[in-house]
Subunit: 500 residues, 2 copies
């Protein structure tokens, strides 16, 4: 009962930003402690707290950068990481938000109903146009009722959507691993349990987490184009194309059940005030933006690097699928099919641009106008706290500040090792963390030894940030958290923040 | 008479963007032909047309990048470059705009007056409130008259301002060169005429052009802190602090002459619709932004690089002045006091950020609100041509596209010579051209030979773009022109564009 009261109190009186902020911070700290307590398989491997905190943050914010070798983690640690990605994914968080708001609305409605009934009682005293007022009163409560129940239905639809993709994804992955022997051999050779791998990869792809249990990420499966292709579907369903798929799901369910609320949801999606439910036109433009960028970057990548070492030993079909996989993952998921440090600079720059864009980005002018009309009226609110104001700093300026701070922290390495610690790589890493993408250019000893042939160096299969100092790692962890909460400062989230 | 008619026709019916566009294009082509016709001093040096076109564009758009060795140009070519910078400088162009608009207004006024007199004649027929209408009519024409004459006065003030700084700057520079023997010796040794040098340097500094007749730019005078300090004043007066200085000048002239129009101009600067004439608060915030950034970057630069090779052999005072000089020049002028390739990455990143900002940038929230209120009402215009729409593409996206195209054009060099052709250097060069700044990281053969010890290479004292292919050079020339006209797409210029 106390818990219920607390829950209601928080969901009504606390700003959504703070709810999400504490949700992430608390789970993050809890997860990092769990990861510390569980021992890795390899007894020689004693991870430091800063690395485990980084891993926990990275998994929870679905970023997917790592500062440790994934295969040295024990199965229980992989499970924890997977669970963190599960509760940090965009679909899951937005599902929680819907339930939170539906509770809020039902309480508010209760109050409104009470007021309404009192008003109706009062109004029976004077006889002028009582009937009309009662009618309008009932109209309001019917509308409210429809809205609350439509929120509940929305929540249910998202649960169905979420469960469906996880189950089918898991089964498909498992079937693929058992039937295609080359992929099974790879995992057997590494001593990774097939079921665990299928589970963690499905969750990671759908949450756009990007943490895979193998050292090479998905690059080791670059010849298993089938596996890559259905990971692509999961990745798109879990984030950038969620509005399209969600609308499709609602439409399908509506056709089968003839439910009125669902119909209402499709016709006036703004009433539900759910970020991922857009009008037909909005969904169309957002999907076109996503698909257009994927096609563009895949074409650019293929045309620039077709004969380069990045695609060594692949046939044409595998090259195209690998490029497509990178194109899809550059937006948010961050799984690799190739070594990103071998991609040519022009493509890397475009990938940086894609990583920087939030998933709600939209290039069509019409949509922007529409959205503006929606946001404008609430723009002159004064109830923004200082933290939200800091978040409202223009995003580019924030990213530039983060990059400059990173360069200051790592200044000695930038001077000593300019090929690995090139400014572009630092920018890439910071923007990858900011966009919660997790693609990293990595670190190659061969590049260090080009300039300093006498220095000893052992290649490590983790992200570039793993080679940074502790200060740099903590900075990147902060940037990942900031990036996960950036929607509260971006234009799309602004309306919601100010309204909340 | 025909010319007068043409002039009036153009100034009234043609969009200001097109006037400036053709102004720049025509002078640019004319200048490049002149530079081709005039022979360099050195008979072995046969410049190609693409280089001369680049030089002409660079001088006219006050960018200051160059693809040829400055000291191999003849005096007449230097004079042409100086004249190009003279007519391309922001103060000069805005002066022309004021005269253009004052002509336009006087014609419009003539029409209004005619209409007014007709109206008054008509109105004497009906007797109802004729007197009031006549009074309001006279009110309007008095206001119009005040506005036209205030535009003319504004033009005069800018002329005085412009002449004053050129004359004092030239005299001060000449006196300095004659009194301080070390600076005189440098120029004697290079065979550069002192008067020509003083003239071209003054024009270059005031126009924020950044082309200096010496190979080393101002870096050769790094020990002549006095010379650097008063170039700083010229640089600030000619662009970023122009609003502050202009307001000061108007105020001073007003105090001496007690002129009514000037008083009116100071009190309601928006009536004159001149971009550089702001309210007290606006001027204050813009100047604070400029000075704050200069102080910040100077501090950052000194703290990061105090003991680094970039300041080799300087005493503390000279170091501070050199850092201050870079800080002031990074915003627009682009003269160097040190070798930019030795500056540490964190400072370089901040310099890139400063170069990207237009001179009208403002960090204070109050000012933005004020500006918004001013811009908003005109926002729903429909008369934008396609070219202006292209210019209205978000600026960051344009810059990213330019950088990606540059990387595609120079892809072979990026692969072969990653230390010189690092992506950061390409980004730096493109943004330097876009911001019309002209600082360049240059090219060092030592960096090439670190990776390829056997390749022969001769250092050249020109910008990094001088090492690019012809396609790359033409791209940068286009970016410089685009950058010079960017105010038509930036927020500040938008109001004017849509209104024009
Ligand atoms: K990710
Ligand atoms: K310049």
């Amino acid at each position: 009962r106390l818990i219920m009261f607390m829950y209601h109190f928080i969901s009504i009186h606390v700003h959504p930003f703070w709810i999400q902020f504490f949700y992430f911070i608390i789970i993050d700290l809890f997860g990092s402690l769990l990861l510390m307590v569980l021992k890795p398989t390899d007894p020689d491997f004693k991870p430091r707290y800063v690395d485990m905190f980084f891993l926990s943050t990275s998994a929870l914010t679905v970023s997917g950068l790592s500062t440790v070798t994934m295969e040295r983690l024990s199965s229980s640690q992989i499970v924890i990481c997977t669970l963190l990605m599960l509760v940090g994914g965009e679909v899951f968080v937005s599902m929680l938000c819907v339930f939170c708001r539906s509770a809020k609305t039902s309480i508010a409605e209760l109050t409104v109903n009470r007021v309404n009934s009192v008003r109706i009682e009062l109004e029976t005293i004077d006889s002028v146009s009582t009937v009309e007022r009662i009618e309008s009163g009932t109209d309001i409560s019917v509308k409210d009722f429809l809205r609350t129940s439509s929120l509940k239905y929305l929540g249910l639809v998202i649960v169905v959507y979420w469960v469906f993709f996880h189950v089918t994804g898991f089964i498909a992955c498992l079937v693929y691993l058992y039937t295609i022997s080359s992929s099974k051999e790879v995992l057997r050779g590494k001593g990774i349990n097939l079921g665990l791998f299928a589970f963690s990869t499905t969750v990671s792809s759908f949450a756009n987490g990007g943490l895979i249990a193998t050292n090479e990420n998905m690059a080791i499966f670059v010849r298993n184009s089938g596996l890559l292709l259905f990971q692509i579907v999961l990745v798109l369903a879990g984030n950038t194309l969620f509005p399209l798929f969600l609308r499709g799901t609602i439409w399908v369910i509506k056709c089968f059940t003839k439910n009125e609320e669902l119909d209402c949801m499709i016709k006036s999606p703004k009433d539900s005030k759910f970020d991922h439910l857009l009008t037909n036109l909005g969904t169309f433009f957002r999907s076109i933006t996503v698909l257009g960028m994927i096609v563009f970057v895949t074409t650019l990548f293929c045309s620039m690097d077709w004969r380069h070492p990045v695609f060594n030993g692949l046939n044409s079909y595998q090259k195209v699928v690998a490029a497509l996989f990178i194109g899809v993952n550059a937006r948010h998921a961050g799984e690799n099919s190739v070594d990103p440090s071998l991609i040519s600079p022009a493509v890397l720059l475009f990938i940086i641009f894609m990583m920087y864009l939030p998933s709600s980005a939209n290039f069509m002018p019409l949509k922007e106008d529409e959205e503006k009309r929606y946001v404008e009226p609430k723009d002159n609110s004064r109830g923004i706290t200082i933290v939200t104001k800091f978040l409202l700093l223009p995003q580019v300026v924030c990213v530039i500040i983060f990059v400059i701070v990173a360069c200051i922290i790592e200044r000695r390495r930038l001077l000593l090792d300019p090929l690995n610690f090139s400014t572009l790589n630092v920018i890439f890493e910071v923007i990858s963390a900011y966009g919660n993408v997790g693609i990293s250019t990595g670190y190659a000893c061969s590049r260090l030894q080009k300039l300093h042939p006498d220095m000893s160096c052992v290649d490590q299969p983790y992200s570039f940030v793993g080679w940074w100092s502790d200060g740099g790692k903590l900075l990147i962890a902060f940037v990942m958290l900031y990036g996960r909460l950036k929607k509260f400062s971006a234009k799309n989230g602004k309306a919601w923040t100010l309204k909340g």
